[in-house]
């Protein structure tokens, strides 16, 4: 399994969820677990570039696929990914627990719709729950992320980025 561009050995425990494998076996604790039944979206990661719930998948099912987590969007010390930057500018996070899931969903959304309509924005984030912000700032952040993504900037492309990241 490839995670954030690096190869990792196959998970040992066949009943290990992908979310638990990422968090507890690979130490990628940026992927959060809010409900473990696929409703809250906190555990969203990209599987071959498309957003998926990592709590609804077994880790072994990710074998042969490329997984991108929040840690894979921008290398340490590098500038934030445009979606991360937009969330910062628009105060689209408070406690930060749902944030990695939202960011990954929005990366997936913008890969599909680089200039989303308001309805596409709502559809793109309608699978993620946030209990802090009331979503208004997240909607603003998606629009801002689309603007930022349209600006070519090599510095924004993080190491080992999955498909659908900052493709122009």
């Amino acid at each position: 399994m490839k995670v954030n561009g690096a190869n990792h050995p196959a998970p040992v425990d066949p009943r290990r969820l992908l979310s638990d494998h990422l968090r507890h076996d690979l130490g990628l604790t940026g992927t959060h677990v809010g409900c473990e039944h696929g409703v809250c979206g906190c555990c969203t990661v990209l599987l071959d570039g498309a957003p998926v719930r990592s709590c609804l998948m077994l880790a072994v099912q990710a074998e042969g696929h490329e997984v991108t987590t929040i840690e894979g969007l921008a290398a340490d010390g590098a500038p934030l990914h445009p979606v991360q930057q937009a969330f910062h500018e628009c105060h689209a996070l408070q406690c930060g627990f749902c944030t990695p899931g939202f960011v990954m969903s929005v990366v997936g959304l913008l890969a599909q719709h680089p200039s989303p309509t308001p309805q596409q924005v709502d559809e793109g984030i309608a699978g993620n729950l946030c209990r802090c912000t009331g979503y208004a700032s997240i909607r603003r952040a998606v629009s801002r992320a689309a603007e930022l993504s349209a600006i070519p900037s090599p510095a924004l492309a993080g190491e080992g980025e999955g498909e659908g990241g900052t493709e122009q």
């Binding site: 959060h32 409900c35 910062h88 406690c95 984030i125 009331g134």
Partner: protein
């Protein structure tokens, strides 16, 4: 140039690591910890006949299984956090139940193992034999007392309290018009997206207990653990790391796991962690809001209130660990921004076989607001008056502050509104709401509220300028997303004349600041914010004294600007703050970083000892702020909604908020608090219902069936402010954390009532509820 940070939309300093996935939530901490699982009661009321854990203990990978019999504190009743003379029959649970369980989710046994999956497998081997007992599940059933939750609590009544201002019976009798009303509010749940978690380590060599806890009050947890385990407080460290939302119920002493995890870590001498899953969070974590209110109101032909009599029962759940704070808040907050010349309120706090209650964002106020606002709407309807006009005629006027309510407040004092301008809130909200949108089944809703915020007893802060000139600041209260690290930095940066980026804040870590109370009740900005202001001010004064000595000028002629302490009007004459920090600590041995300037042969000679009498080393100070009473925020919400007459789907066409929380530290943060609060209010008003059946089983304990709003249910919210500074604290601020949520139920009800023409007297609503109401009426 002096930069004022206070009042600016300063971008958050805490975002970067959270956005990169580098946050540190309790379950992110591992360090080889054993994992654990709590076995909980599947019944709402049952006698435990026997518990057999032998098979679980024998399972490979299981390290320990604890029942009450295995704990030295197994027979200790957990504390009543806030005792009150009227709480005559307060009852708390034990860490693990061994005789009777009184709600689904009450903890019975605790398994520690090499992995969580092993612990969950072992749980299936634990045999608990229960004898089911009759269940009491609604507040009405509790008050009827057909069955008792506690054998020794007659009538299921934990507490009763009656308060009266004026003479209500006489005033009602003399009122030209009277009305009796009945309002019901069901339980709700805060549902932070991070459930609860605890991680603990015991160091045998240092005799030190370290606990990470997703709590809103690490200082209290530390005190409690020290008492329970007989350790000096200095040997117990409690840290609330990043906490994924709190909204109230993460403040409790104690949830069972908060004792069991540290105890097991000490007992087994290995780190132990426990992470709650979502299903258990639904019944294991405190809830709120269940209340039933009987109202009699007297008023005149102009719609002016003459007397108000409110009698309500509060659903306490199975135990009363949090005392009677919730009904006390409701009792005090019913009158809201209105003059009620004669007011009597009685409440009874009754036991039910449900999860105990403690504050959830709003804490007694959404129901209080619902009662008052629905009552005013009923008066307006009766008199065929405009709803805004009825409110206008009853509002407390700006020249009537301080306004003495005369009813007990949650801090032990009488409630006194410190400042406000309620008519301005109303008029601004109406203006911002604008004309009614066209179409059928559209209703307008209106709701006003006050909120006692910034409750004591106190908070403190420590501020230190390092020899590098950078600043560190710490307070006891933790953040659950309220941007504390940013707003405290703004306050400190203003006092010290430095950049916000140069102030690093720590909260909720008893190693850095051991004193304080917690983050709750919209109090952080008022209490810890003012403590930061006072501590930073003390540091600035000290910097002026030291720099004045060095520059041979009068301290009053100095200012702190741009990282310098300099002479006012002579920007060239100054000394860097870093240098002042070095001089503040006379050293014998230089340790780099420029500290040679403070050694005995380098420092400027001056009479007297190196450390002046009464002076402490270091450019640092600790300050405390203890409010004389609560400061009262207020606001007005108004909305247009459309209800589909066939599907009863709710569409919020426009929602406006006008808010007054005194002086605003960071408008971006306050906007976020209000937007989030309103969204939670919308959830509570129309979507989120805890569906308990007659057996006390929560039938919708998952996010599939407990419907929290997604973005598709929450409209854009238009926010406006007025500012009436609080005269009670140096910064003039009032709390803003809960305001957004308080009036939403009242506003939505008012609007739906008009849209459909059916009376709305209960919360929450739902499409099904509206369908039934319309059907009943026709």
């Amino acid at each position: 140039m002096t930069t004022r940070w206070f009042g600016k939309r300063v971008q958050r300093v805490e975002d970067d690591r959270l956005l990169r996935g580098h946050g540190r939530f309790t379950d992110d901490i591992d360090e080889g910890a054993l994992e654990s699982y709590l076995i909980r009661s599947p019944f709402a009321h049952a006698r435990i006949r026997s518990i057999d854990v032998s098979a679980a203990r024998a399972m490979p990978g299981v390290v320990a299984v604890y029942t009450a019999a295995d704990l030295p504190f197994g027979q200790t009743d957990l504390p009543i956090l806030i005792p009150h003379p009227n709480l005559t029959h307060g009852r708390t649970q034990r860490c693990l139940a061994s005789e009777v369980v009184r709600y689904v989710g009450e903890a019975v046994a605790f398994i520690v193992s090499e992995s969580r999956t092993v612990a969950e497998d072992a749980a299936e081997l634990v045999e608990v034999e229960y004898e089911q007992l009759p269940v009491v599940i609604t507040p009405e059933a509790a008050a009827r007392a057909d069955h008792l939750v506690h054998d020794d609590v007659p009538g299921n009544v934990a507490a009763e309290m009656i308060q009266e201002v004026g003479t209500v019976q006489a005033a009602l009798a003399a009122s030209p018009r009277r009305k009796r009303l009945h309002f019901r509010f069901e339980r709700g749940a805060a549902s932070p997206l991070e459930a609860r978690a605890v991680w603990a380590r015991w160091s045998t060599s240092e005799k030190k207990l370290t606990v990470y806890d997703s709590t809103q009050s690490p200082t209290s947890i530390r005190g409690g653990l020290a008492v329970l385990f007989g350790l000096p407080e200095s040997s117990v460290e409690v840290i609330a790391p990043d906490v994924g939302g709190g909204f109230g119920p993460k403040i409790m002493l104690f949830y069972s796991d908060e004792l069991l995890v540290p105890y097991a870590a000490m007992h087994l001498n290995r780190p132990v962690k426990w992470t709650e899953d979502r299903q258990e969070h639904f019944t294991a974590v405190n809830q709120e809001r269940g209340q039933v209110h009987e109202v009699e109101v007297g008023y005149d032909d102009e719609g002016k209130l003459l007397a108000l009599d409110v009698d309500f029962i509060h659903d306490a759940g199975a135990y009363t660990p949090y005392g009677i704070i919730l009904p006390i808040i409701t009792a005090a907050q019913v009158p809201g921004p209105y003059r009620v010349p004669n007011y009597r309120v009685r409440f009874r706090d009754v036991y039910t076989n449900a999860t105990p209650t403690s504050p959830y964002r709003g804490a007694g106020r959404p129901h209080a607001c619902f009662v008052m606002e629905r009552t005013l709407d009923a008066i307006a309807a009766e008199l065929r008056l405009d709803r805004a006009e009825v409110r206008r005629r009853n509002l407390i006027q700006p020249d009537q502050f301080p306004y003495v309510l005369g009813v007990a407040w949650q801090d032990g004092n009488t409630a006194i509104y410190d400042s406000g301008n309620y008519p301005a809130l109303l008029e601004k909200a109406l203006a911002n709401l604008g004309p009614r949108p066209p179409g059928d089944h559209v209703g307008m809703g209106l709701g006003m509220y006050v909120e006692g915020t910034g409750v004591g007893p106190y908070e403190g802060a420590h501020v230190q300028v390092l020899v590098s000139g950078k600043v560190v600041a710490a307070t006891g209260i933790p953040s659950q997303g309220q941007a504390h690290a940013t707003v405290w930095a703004q306050i400190v940066a203003d006092e010290l004349g430095v950049d916000v980026a140069d102030v690093q804040v720590t909260g909720g870590d008893t190693r850095r600041f051991p004193w304080g109370v917690g983050t709750f009740a919209s109090r952080g900005a008022v209490t810890a914010g003012n403590a930061m202001h006072l501590a930073a001010g003390m540091v600035a004064d000290k910097a002026r004294r030291i720099a004045a000595d060095h520059l041979e000028v009068d301290p009053v002629d100095l200012e702190l600007v741009g990282g310098q302490v300099r002479v006012k009007g002579s920007p060239d004459r100054g000394i860097p703050l870093a240098a002042v920090s070095i001089l503040a600590n006379p050293v014998r041995y230089a340790f780099g970083g420029g500290t040679e300037a403070a050694t005995q042969f380098s420092a400027k000679t001056r009479p007297g000892p190196p450390l002046h009498e009464g002076e402490q080393p270091g450019l640092e100070a600790t300050g405390y702020y203890s409010p004389p009473g609560s400061t009262w925020a207020a606001g007005c919400h108004a909305a247009y909604v459309r209800v589909d007459p066939k599907t009863f789907r709710l569409e919020i066409l426009k929602y406006v908020v006008v808010h007054d929380c005194g002086r605003v530290i960071n408008p971006m943060v306050v906007q976020g608090q209000i937007e989030g609060g309103v969204a939670q209010g919308i959830g509570g008003a129309f979507y989120e219902r805890l569906h308990y059946d007659s057996e006390g089983q929560l039938r919708n304990a998952s996010f599939m069936e407990f419907l929290m709003p997604y973005c598709t249910e929450v409209p854009a919210i238009e926010i406006d402010h007025i500012e009436t500074p609080s005269p009670l604290n140096p910064l003039g601020i009032k709390g803003a954390g809960e305001a957004g949520v308080i009036p939403v139920g009242a506003v939505i009800s008012s609007a739906v009532e008009e849209a459909l023409g059916v009376p709305i007297t209960e919360m929450p609503l739902s499409p099904l509820k509206l369908f039934e109401l319309v059907k009943t009426q026709s």
